[in-house]
């Protein structure tokens, strides 16, 4: 009975641990499934026609011409390339080797080109608009995910990201309108995010309340508070209190003129540039500073950290307040960039997607950022495809981040291992 291979044993008896074994089989299986999916799309629902990719915006150094390709032939080509990648991956698996990252990237890129070619038959895909829009949609998710990563790395589960985003959006709209300055709004959003973090810390760190419960309840509390204040105060005085100024797009002189990359990354609003800096700072601080080492140590093994003199709860407090400020700033994006006014429940559960990005990004700032960008891409792709009238039901595109996350936590896509002491309050002594 005990001859089953370790790789595929269902972990019947240890369901508590968030640890799953690394199985190299995942990549080939996933590649195969995706390739077959694309094959079925072109076989069963392929229509002849041309697909055009528009890559330029007009103000670049030089203009990349539009690329027009025959849909069916191109999709078939991509299916073939994907099949090759799958075969290569299977070969590596049989040789007991991991599928390298570059192969995953090539596969993903080719698959996406094939999918887009199929989905946009007879239409033009504005590639720059698609990607720039994805970045815009991902901004609050990235801020939220960074806040989540910081908190969880210090051992505090933060389900309240959604509450922090919503509180940030509210505060940014209110203060931005009163002061008449976008940066005052951003500052207020950071304070609001910190206030939510303050409640989280009070109950989770000081009173040892289950962190998931606090997070869920805080989300409800923030929805209730902001909706109440919106109806009672903001809506009747919309001109004075709910009419914040808006961030304008600031093209960065030279970088913004680079074809393809410039319009996507360097013709954005100031808050997006702040985001780049934040991602870099958080990553550097978490992995390269004494502070980061301490944060990670209280999340992994608080007792050991305490033994060497690190104040566990003080460290956790400082970290979640910082995380709250970052997540709150993401909320400002809603009211100072997307829609220049606050609406009830306007985040629409984005905090939960950010949470998904934290897990899918394996509690790493860079990977969580990439996951958030991926989710932003999925939701913007849905918008673009529905505009050009594609056959893909929009609901399935919107569902994608959540399904991917379920697969991720189930260990079917990559491994996911949380910080060891996440969710456990620390009692000294």
């Amino acid at each position: 009975m005990s001859t089953t291979t370790a790789a595929s044993v269902p972990l019947d008896e240890t369901p508590l641990a968030g640890v799953t074994t690394v199985i190299d089989k995942k990549a080939p299986v996933l590649f195969g499934a995706l390739t077959i999916g694309l094959l079925l799309l072109v076989l069963l629902a392929g229509e002849s026609g041309d697909t055009t990719f528009r890559l330029a915006t007009g103000t670049d150094f030089f203009e990349i011409p539009e690329i027009t390709v025959p849909s069916i032939a191109t999709t078939w080509l991509m299916v073939a390339i994907c099949a090759l990648c799958t075969a290569w991956s299977v070969r590596l698996y049989l040789a007991r080797r991991r599928t390298p990252m570059w192969l995953v990237v090539v596969f993903a890129l080719m698959w996406m080109i094939g999918f887009l070619t199929w989905a946009a038959t007879g239409a033009t895909i504005p590639v720059v608009g698609l990607l720039a829009g994805s970045l815009a949609l991902a901004v609050p998710l990235v801020f939220g995910a960074l806040g989540g990563v910081l908190g969880e790395r210090a051992g505090v589960v933060n389900i309240a990201i959604d509450g922090q985003l919503l509180a940030g959006a509210f505060a940014a709209a209110l203060v931005g309108s009163i002061v008449g300055s976008t940066w005052a709004g951003v500052g207020a959003s950071m304070v609001a995010g910190m206030l939510v973090a303050l409640l989280l810390g009070l109950f989770a760190i000081n009173y040892f309340v289950d962190q998931v419960i606090v997070g869920v309840v805080l989300n409800v509390l923030v929805i209730g508070l902001t909706s109440f204040m919106f109806t009672q105060v903001l809506a009747p005085n919309a001109a004075d209190l709910n009419h914040p100024p808006r961030f304008e797009k600031i093209p960065i002189p030279v970088l913004g003129d680079i074809p393809l990359i410039g319009p996507i990354f360097f013709r954005q609003t100031a808050i997006v540039y702040v985001l780049y800096i934040t991602v870099a700072l958080v990553t550097w601080a978490l992995y390269r500073t004494k502070w980061g080492l301490r944060v990670r140590s209280v999340g992994e093994h608080p007792k050991a950290a305490d033994t060497v003199g690190i104040k566990v709860n003080a460290t956790r407090w400082r970290t979640i307040l910082l995380a709250g400020a970052i997540a709150g700033m993401g909320g400002a994006f809603y009211t100072l960039v997307s829609v220049p006014q606050f609406n009830r429940e306007m985040t629409g559960g984005a905090g939960y997607i950010a949470l998904a990005a934290v897990i899918f990004g394996q509690w790493d700032p860079i990977r969580a950022t990439l996951a958030a960008l991926l989710f932003g891409f999925a939701s913007n792709l849905q918008g673009v495809l529905s505009v050009i009238g594609s056959p893909v039901p929009s609901q399935f595109m919107l569902m994608l981040p959540y399904v991917v996350t379920i697969f991720a936590v189930a260990g079917l896509v990559g491994k996911s291992r949380a910080p060891a002491s996440v969710g456990i309050p620390y009692r000294k002594g």
Binding site: L16, G18, T20, I213, L221, L225, S227, M399
Partner: protein, 411 residues
């Protein structure tokens, strides 16, 4: 995070057999102790504190109060009158909307709010049981929304698709709904048992997946969408599948409330009197110990989530077949899936506690709408008060510190 609500659970090490042999007097003694113990006291104080905070919020945002506050030192009477009017008005409206309408002309109208409270309480109780049962096994079921959506869509489909005699049709529709809820929750249980995937994340994600799935089905003519319609809505339920009204047509109270009571009794029996319930509690208190004593922990997780999903599914069926019978929409859960979490927490994951908590929050809901209509206070205040209650209850030391109660035991 293993046992969120079971903090007041007896430690498993306490030997059951160590109690004196005669159990007869201890039962009532225990009940008495439970009522007077400071845990109940904390619950009551938490509710009061939350209501007090709600009052502040109402007062601060009241136009009259704010304008009189401008000249508070000139005429403090005006300010305190306005303050009293705002708060008293709000809470009497809440009372009139949830328990007894003192302004009604006939007895039927006066008692009507109470039946509305029961109507709102029914799905909260059923879904609260689903969340609470999972808590007892140490699992956090945040997936109430998704489970209700899947159950509601399934029940609604049976309700308009089939032609069956009255009682059979209704039973069938409820059963299919509960099965759908059970399957949806079962995914989370199975994934936890098989792969260790955390049920909090999986259920949250399944909420959204269910939302988009039901949305997709409701916008497809070939699936659930009403023929010829452009709205994401299904056909209304046929009369044979609609839950009968309990007190005649002038009241909205329907069979769902009785079913919720049956669910309370069933869950109580399951947890306290069945061997499965014993296994559930054992797993919830200490999974390694349960495993060591021969309980299949993984299977228990799956079974618990199946039953929990069926209970939440009952709430979904209750919405579609009883409360809003005009057709399935994506809003059918009406926030109940999340409210159920607060109900289960307030009820301390015990069936009778959930019944009481469900009735309280049902009263808040019924009264909240009345408050909005008559006093112009947004119904969202109810969310604030509810979430504060749960936060305070979850942190007894905080309540004891605020009210300077003696600590229960030395730390």
């Amino acid at each position: 995070m293993s046992n969120p609500a079971g903090t007041d659970e007896r430690p498993p090490s306490e030997p059951e057999g160590a109690e004196p042999e005669e159990q007869q007097p201890s039962r009532w003694h225990g009940v008495l102790r439970e009522i007077t113990s400071s845990s109940a006291m904390v619950a009551v104080l938490s509710v009061l504190l939350a209501i007090a905070f709600g009052s502040i919020l109402i007062a601060v945002t009241d136009e009259e109060v704010r304008s009189t506050a401008g000249y508070i030192f000139a005429a403090p009477g005006d300010f305190f009158n306005a303050l009293w009017d705002a708060i008293w008005g709000a809470y009497t409206a809440l009372f009139r909307g949830s328990i007894y309408n003192t302004r009604a002309e006939t007895f039927e109208q006066a008692i009507r709010p109470l039946t509305e409270t029961a109507k709102f309480a029914a799905p909260l109780i059923a879904a609260g049981l689903g969340v609470g049962l999972a808590f007892r096994a140490g699992m956090f079921n945040i997936g109430g929304r998704g489970q209700m959506l899947m159950a509601g869509a399934a029940s609604g489909w049976v309700a308009y698709q089939f032609d069956l005699p009255g009682f059979v049709h209704l039973t069938f529709a409820i059963a299919v709904g509960m099965a759908a809820g059970a399957l949806w929750a079962g995914i989370a249980g199975l994934l936890k048992a098989r792969t260790g995937a955390h049920e909090v994340i999986v259920t949250i994600m399944l909420n959204y997946v269910a939302y988009y799935l039901v949305f997709f089905a409701l916008s497809k003519q070939s699936l659930l969408q009403a023929p010829g319609s452009f709205n994401p809505k299904s056909l209304p339920a046929k009369d044979s599948a609609i839950m009968p009204k309990l007190l005649g047509d002038q009241f909205n109270l329907h069979l769902g409330f009785l079913l919720a009571l049956v669910a309370v009794a069933f869950t109580w029996w399951l947890l306290e009197r069945s061997s499965l319930g014993f296994r559930i509690r054992a797993v919830g208190i200490n999974p390694p110990a349960a495993k060591a004593s021969g309980i299949n922990v993984g299977r228990t997780y799956t079974v618990v989530m199946l039953i929990a999903g069926a209970l939440v599914g009952l709430a979904g069926a209750n919405q579609v077949l009883g409360t809003v019978t005009s057709g399935v929409t994506v809003d059918l859960d009406a926030g109940i899936g999340f409210d159920a979490i607060t109900v289960a927490l307030l009820g301390r994951s015990r069936p009778l506690g959930i019944l009481a908590a469900g009735l309280l929050f049902g009263a808040f809901k019924a009264g909240g709408f009345a408050m909005q209509a008559s006093e112009n206070i947004p119904v969202d205040i109810v969310l604030v008060v509810q979430s504060l209650i749960v936060l305070f209850i979850a942190a007894p030391p905080l309540i004891r510190a605020i009210f300077r109660l003696p600590a229960q035991e030395a730390k």
